[in-house]
């Protein structure tokens, strides 16, 4: 083994031992993803019944009435109002008298008769995220069933249930949450831990002792990353297993690819944690900077909760400089759409670039002087 590898391994082994001597940290790191996925996962998956529905039937034909009835028949929706004007819907939402509205425009039946695409509109009050998600799903399903049942064979479904959410256009379902959750979990725990570990060595004076040995700065950096990198991968595995088994999150693409993307992300974020630590040399300051500067982007700028498409350009630009959105995008692409490496390369490259920049800063700023 080369001296470089031997010393890097010694550093990594030492870090593992520190970690093992502090089992609460490991426990926290493993409990966190479980708690988060249960909170977020169950938060959006209650069963929804009797959603108050407003029906605006501007077509007023037998067919349009049958279409509306199909909605109330399923038990998911209760028709609570039948205004004539679609503009009456918003006040109903505001007063919480209705949470969903079905709008059948004039010409609905005529269009269907001609075999053209007939469009009914489903409006959902997005401010109640959980209900809205489910209501949308049911609305979609009822519309499609109707379309297939009533259409002459051979025609593709020309009835489109075009669904729109009001107030919260970014509505996310459990399926969408898992990729964002992986990002969140990784930055909360792993970056924090790495940010603390180097600062601790400065504070207790062991960094000076380390620097008096032939151990190089890259060896210290890589050795410090190793245990937290592995811990991060275990966290990804946990979220995936729980997501797939409890919440039926689809896993259409390659698991290997998921871990590849997560690994590149982790390396960048962990090295960022080291950079914070190297610059601040204080556990307190490092912890605060790490918490704010990684948690917020992961939550806000990752497309996890707020869609990037709806952001003002400056925020969108900032989000494009930070890794979270790329991992969220890559994971959705792999998990939900089953995309392969060629599609996610455009997400992997920016994350790899971030890692390279952080590694450069870390090695540059390291060991300039000893306190």
């Amino acid at each position: 083994m080369s001296p470089f590898l031997r010393r890097t391994r010694a550093m990594a082994l030492k870090e593992f031992r520190h970690m093992a001597r502090d089992p609460q940290v490991v426990l926290l790191a493993l409990a966190m993803p479980l708690v988060l996925i249960l909170v977020f996962g169950y938060g959006v998956s209650f069963d929804v019944e009797h959603v108050p529905l407003a029906v605006v039937d501007q077509d007023r034909t037998a067919e349009s009435r049958a279409f509306a009835r199909a909605f109330s028949a399923a038990g998911t929706f209760d028709v609570v109002a039948t205004p004539d004007d679609p503009r009456a819907v918003e006040p109903l939402f505001r007063q919480s008298l209705a949470r969903a509205a079905l709008i059948i425009p004039e010409g609905f039946t005529r269009a269907r008769a001609r075999g053209e695409a007939a469009t009914a509109q489903m409006l959902v009050d997005g401010s109640d995220n959980a209900t809205a998600t489910i209501a949308l799903g049911y609305g979609d399903a009822i519309g499609l069933t109707l379309a297939q049942a009533e259409l002459p064979r051979g025609l593709s479904a020309p009835l489109e249930a075009r669904v729109r959410t009001m107030f919260n256009p970014s509505l996310r379902s459990a399926v969408f949450i898992v990729p964002g959750l992986i990002v969140l979990v990784l930055v909360i725990v792993s970056v924090m831990l790495t940010a603390l570990t180097v600062a601790r060595e400065y504070e207790q004076g062991s960094m000076e002792q380390l620097f008096s040995t032939p151990v190089g700065r890259l060896e210290i950096i890589l050795g410090k990353l190793a245990p937290y990198f592995l811990l991060g991968l275990v966290q990804v595995l946990l979220v995936l297993v729980v997501g797939v088994t409890l919440f039926d999150v689809p896993l259409r693409g390659s698991v290997g690819l998921i871990f590849l993307a997560a690994s590149i992300f982790l390396l960048g974020e962990l090295t960022y944690g080291l950079v914070i630590s190297i610059i601040t040399r204080s556990q307190m300051v490092a912890a605060q900077i790490a918490a704010i500067s990684t948690f917020l982007p992961a939550l806000i700028l990752s497309d996890f909760i707020f869609p990037i498409d709806n952001m003002p350009p400056p925020l969108r630009f900032v989000s494009s400089l930070l890794p979270p959105r790329y991992l969220v995008h890559a994971l959705r692409s792999i998990m939900l759409r089953g995309n392969g490496l060629e599609t996610i390369v455009s997400d992997l490259l920016p994350m790899a670039g971030f890692f390279a920049v952080m590694l450069l800063i870390a090695t540059r700023r390291f060991r300039r002087t000893v306190a």
Binding site: L13, K14, H18, R21, S212, T213
Partner: protein
Amino acid sequence: MRAEANPNVIEVEGLTRLFGDFRAVDDVNFQVRRGEIFGYLGANGAGKSTTIRMLCGLLAPTGGRATVAGADIAREPQRVKERIGYMSQKFSLYMDLSVVENLNFFASAYGLAGAERRARIGDALAQADLEGKGDLVTRDLAGGVRQRLALASALLHRPPIIFLDEPTAGVDPVARRGFWRVIRELSRAGTTIFVTTHHLDEAELCHRVGLMVDGKLVALDTPEGLKRTHVPGTMMSVGGQGEGRARNIAAAVTGAPGVLAVQPFGLRVHVRVDDRLAAPAAFGAFLASRGLPADDVEVVEPGLEDVFLALVQR
């Protein structure tokens, strides 16, 4: 130049370190020979640790130059680090790791592997009297044992030079004696030791002692040489009863012909005299002439403390 040809393993010329405008180390010059125990004394903030850090390649000098084991500290800090051991003032071992885990880590950090590493770790355990106790957590060791373990761990790679920055601070006297026994054995075996200390009794055990005051090396010699140069004459210890008496004695003899220096020393007064008063009879007559009792007088050997006081007061 082959290393054998040069008896000096540390050569320091004009070494200077500024922190802003503050001269922490100011134009320091000295050489240390192979196998020498080189002691570094000085008050808090005198610049001892700063000097050691520069010599260990941990801190770049602002001026001057130094070589350690043939390597230039500014240009080749990496080579310096391979050839030295260092016990820093603040930290020595990872408290949460076991004895063996610490030794394993530092052995690997110094590039040791395989059977050689195992053998060196065995030696280190023996040196620290910790055979069979390798699984103890370092935090649970007594301070003295911990420092001996730290020393053993800094010696794992058999460096020709070891730098010890206040290795016995906070260690009890018995453990300190054990620690210094190891240091003297190392020196006999040819290892060069550069050690800072606040304990003057430890400085007496050094081959040569340098004294730092405000970043400057103001004196450097063997302990005996320092005393000869800086505390010449004969030291008489005069007993007093009560503080007032001691102060009276000091006041009565200060400035008299033949008296070189007067220094209160606990309840006694150390009066340093030249040849004129060096004989006990002459000194007794001198005290009597000043109206002082001459029944409690002893000739004492000056200690490094007297050197220290003489130099700091100057």
